[in-house]
């Protein structure tokens, strides 16, 4: 089928610039011959080749040709547009040409690299790719970047060390920050840690310094015990609904006297203490918690269960107890969002191995951290949960539910090697006549000073590392027997241990999938946030305006988390440094005469960029939200949707070029 529309084409003066890319292209494609053939096409006013078109002299060639020959469209035949499209668009723009009249013909990744052994065919293909791209340029419109006004405040989701760091950095930079934490206090998992590797500094003092700074910072609007209910909008203009869960305590009135906690008759097993301690139905998260305000936990409070107790209300000198308080919803507007949702350890109920959950003296690494904390359930002493005795033989098992693609998580949890060494070291300091055994697969100690820390610990503390996985853990005569193998000697090993510590896998926090759906950002199959590019855009999510920090993106230690959070904060500062945001105009548009208002596009759009204009009975495009994915174009039954500079006519003409060329052979 020939397209009749061909004849109505407006002739332009076009330029073609073919890059050798050293030998990457020229080693396979005969660039000189391609330049000659393309140059003979009627409307091509200029055709040339050069060794590196992206270099300054190469760009100079393009600029000169645009200026001197008055080119109205440019095709640069080179590498992928993801590499240098921007470079060449800027080059033509500097000569007053509309940048969207410059297109890339990819003859490297899609031609020379994949056809290295077929030079003649590769040369023909390169020529066809360029001819097809010329067809596209002929129909390209002059477009202007879409300017969007932006809100210069930031939402940080998660008040762990990642979110706290990002929030502080941003607030110090002069931006208003809304910090959201689902627990009643700041700090995340770091509040549960005793001392941290490799310097063995106590975790809490460092953390509390930051937490207090955040609490007092005029630029940070802190919302603890709060969750994200809904997000609308797009980069620069997000509209949030935050749900502040009822604390049943008027935090404004509370004078932090602690009488309510003292007198509360209900004690229940504390998740914070990993099941090793108890807490009250009205309590702080931890003794020094910031904010230092209590919360009534409805599912445990007798007032909420059967109305039988109002003790806290009776003792409160400030009359701050609010049994009738309900969840509150508040609306906020921000320009960017940091997702710092953190991690959990692999859940006990899903493990079903190593006697975890059945044998009381088998605990996980975080539980041992609670034991090692001076304000923890054992006041810093390592004792067997079953009988309170000091364990003399202590087994640590690494890679529990990590690096096991068949049954658990395929990835390395990254923190376990180091924290296990640290815990074994502290154990040995506390119990000098005790023997720690560490079952491992590989030791990974890649951070600054980590290998040195590990070797020093092994040297000084006489830790026995056993290379191999544990086959069985069972209770026997008051001991926990651990069967395994030492693959370095090839011998079976049996340890009659007093206690076993499992370095369980790091997994994403609960609820990230729901949050990802609300934010329209993506998580991988394990639930870790997906970055825009693993190497080049590691703190940007797949959705514009949403940034990542901490273990929610992948398991990492505190040093890496803080670095990443600061990186995220500076990226956002760059984004919000102007009042207006320029967006690519290569988005969908609607031919109002054809659109029947069926609304299929509204349903199919993954970015909520399509909306019905009920007055006119047609569908419209929200230009700031549209990402130009093309889903609506494929779905529209009337062909009323098109993508700017990627129209059906352009696509058909490009295809036509390839098909005609194929028919010629």
């Amino acid at each position: 089928m020939r397209l009749t529309i061909y004849d109505s084409r407006i002739m332009k003066k076009l330029g073609v610039f073919i890059c050798h890319c050293g030998v990457n292209i020229a080693g396979t494609v005969d660039v000189k011959s391609v330049a000659g053939k393309v140059g003979s096409v009627g409307d091509v006013a200029h055709s040339t080749d050069y060794i590196y078109m992206c270099s300054e002299p190469g760009q100079q060639l393009i600029r000169e040709a645009v200026r001197e020959k008055g080119l109205e469209g440019v095709v640069v035949a080179c590498c992928s547009p993801s590499m240098h499209e921007n470079t060449f668009r800027k080059a033509v723009k500097s000569e007053g040409m509309n940048p969207y009249l410059c297109e890339i013909a990819n003859i490297r990744e899609q031609c020379s690299w994949v056809h290295q052994k077929e030079k003649e065919k590769a040369t023909e293909k390169a020529e066809e790719i360029i001819l097809a791209t010329l067809e596209k340029v002929r129909e390209n419109e002059k477009l202007e970047a879409i300017s969007v006004s932006i809100n210069r405040s930031v939402l940080v989701i998660g008040g762990g060390i990642a979110g706290m760091t990002a929030a502080l950095d941003l607030a110090e930079g002069g931006y208003e920050v809304i910090l959201l934490e689902k627990e009643q206090a700041l700090g995340g998992h770091m509040t549960q840690l005793s001392r941290t590797f490799p310097d063995l500094h106590p975790a809490l003092p460092d953390l509390l310094t930051k937490a207090l700074e955040i609490e007092k910072h005029p630029g940070i609007d802190l919302h603890c015990y709060s969750e994200m209910e809904d997000v609308k909008g797009y980069v620069g203009n997000f509209e949030l609904t935050i749900r502040k869960k009822a604390t049943h305590v008027d935090w404004e009135k509370c004078n932090e006297c602690g009488l309510c906690i003292r007198d509360c008759p209900v004690e229940y097993v504390s998740q914070f203490e990993r099941g090793l301690g108890v807490r009250k139905a009205i309590d702080l998260l931890y003794p020094q918690s910031v904010p230092h305000k209590p919360v009534i936990h409805r599912s445990h409070c007798r007032y909420f269960i059967d109305g039988s107790c109002r003790r806290c209300e009776e003792v409160c000198p400030e009359k701050a107890i609010r049994f009738e308080q309900e969840d509150e919803r508040i609306g906020k507007k921000v320009g960017a969002i940091v997702v710092a949702t953190g991690f959990e350890l692999y859940p006990r109920e899903r493990l079903g191995e190593y006697g975890y959950g059945e044998i009381p003296d088998v605990i996980d690494g975080l539980a041992l951290e609670r034991m090692l904390s001076v304000d923890g359930p054992t006041k810093g002493r390592i004792i067997r949960p079953s009988d309170g005795k000091v364990p003399k033989e202590m087994v640590f098992i690494q890679c529990v539910a990590s690096r096991d693609p068949d049954r658990y998580m395929p990835y390395c949890s990254r923190i376990c090697c180091m924290y296990t060494a640290k815990q074994a070291k502290i154990y040995k300091e506390q119990v000098p006549d005790g023997q720690p055994y560490i079952f491992y697969m590989d030791i990974r100690s890649d951070g600054k000073g980590y290998e040195e820390f590990l070797q020093k610990t092994i040297e000084e503390k006489g830790l026995l590392y056993l290379r191999g996985r544990v086959s069985r853990v069972f209770q026997d005569d008051g001991k926990v027997r651990v069967l395994g193998v030492d693959t370095l000697t090839g011998r079976m090993v049996e340890v009659a241990a007093d206690m076993v510590v499992l370095a369980t896998a790091v997994v994403p926090s609960d609820g990230v999938k729901d949050l990802a759906a609300k934010l329209r950002a993506t998580v991988d199959r394990h639930g870790f946030w997906t970055e825009a590019h693993i190497k080049l855009y590691p703190v940007e999510s797949s959705t514009k305006g949403i940034y990542l920090a901490g273990c929610g993106q992948s398991p990492k230690d505190i040093s890496d988390t803080v670095s990443q959070a600061s990186a995220t904060a500076s990226k956002i500062q760059a984004l919000l440094s102007t009042d207006k945001l320029l967006q690519d105009p290569l988005i969908a548009f609607v031919d109002e005469n054809i659109c029947s208002g069926c609304g299929i596009c509204v349903e199919i759009c993954p970015y909520e960029a399509r909306e019905m204009d009920s007055q006119r009975g047609i569908s419209v495009v929200h230009s700031a939200l549209c990402q130009g994915c093309g889903a609506c174009i494929a779905a529209c039954p009337n062909f009323a949707c098109e993508l700017r500079n990627n129209s059906s006519i352009q696509t058909l003409r490009m295809l036509d070029t390839f098909v005609t060329a194929g028919a010629r052979e």
């Binding site: 023997q435 055994y437 030791i443 290379r467 000697t489 090993v493 340890v495």
Partner: protein, 177 residues
Amino acid sequence: MNKMDATFLEEAKKRSGEDLSLCYQCLKCTAGCPTAPIMDIRPNNIIRMIQMGMKQEVLGSSAIWLCVSCETCGTRCPNKIDIGVLMDALREMAIDEGIHAKEKNIHLLHEAFIDSIRRGGRVHEATMLIDYKLRSKDFLTDLVPGMMLFMKGKIPLLPSLVKGRGEIKRIFERCKK
């Protein structure tokens, strides 16, 4: 099945003065060891078995006697463990424990060698070899190369004695203590 016992590791550390906990099993020692191919337990495994408390297996091995103390391992070890020195310590420990050397003749050669030095302050090959042959009752091995060395004057008949033989004697007496 083996219950681990750290006392052997501590003893071996003390006797050799080497920090055996540092070994991370890179196998550099074994890779360069000229006698590793004929050893029953390779040098890296010797260290591992010490860490695992496998005393009988280590002290009863032929490997500790086959080591020629060329020091290649110790020179190359990234953790500065001198395995040559360790092997010496293990041989001493084996003798102290009354564990019969698996390579009996090597032990006898060591004894003949030391006795020769005790006598003259310097090795006298002829008497040392006769002493060794009498101890080992192995008269035929290496007889031909021995004769050839003798013909070339490499095994002198008369011993060359050092001046400070009294001092040598005192050294031996002090070592006994």
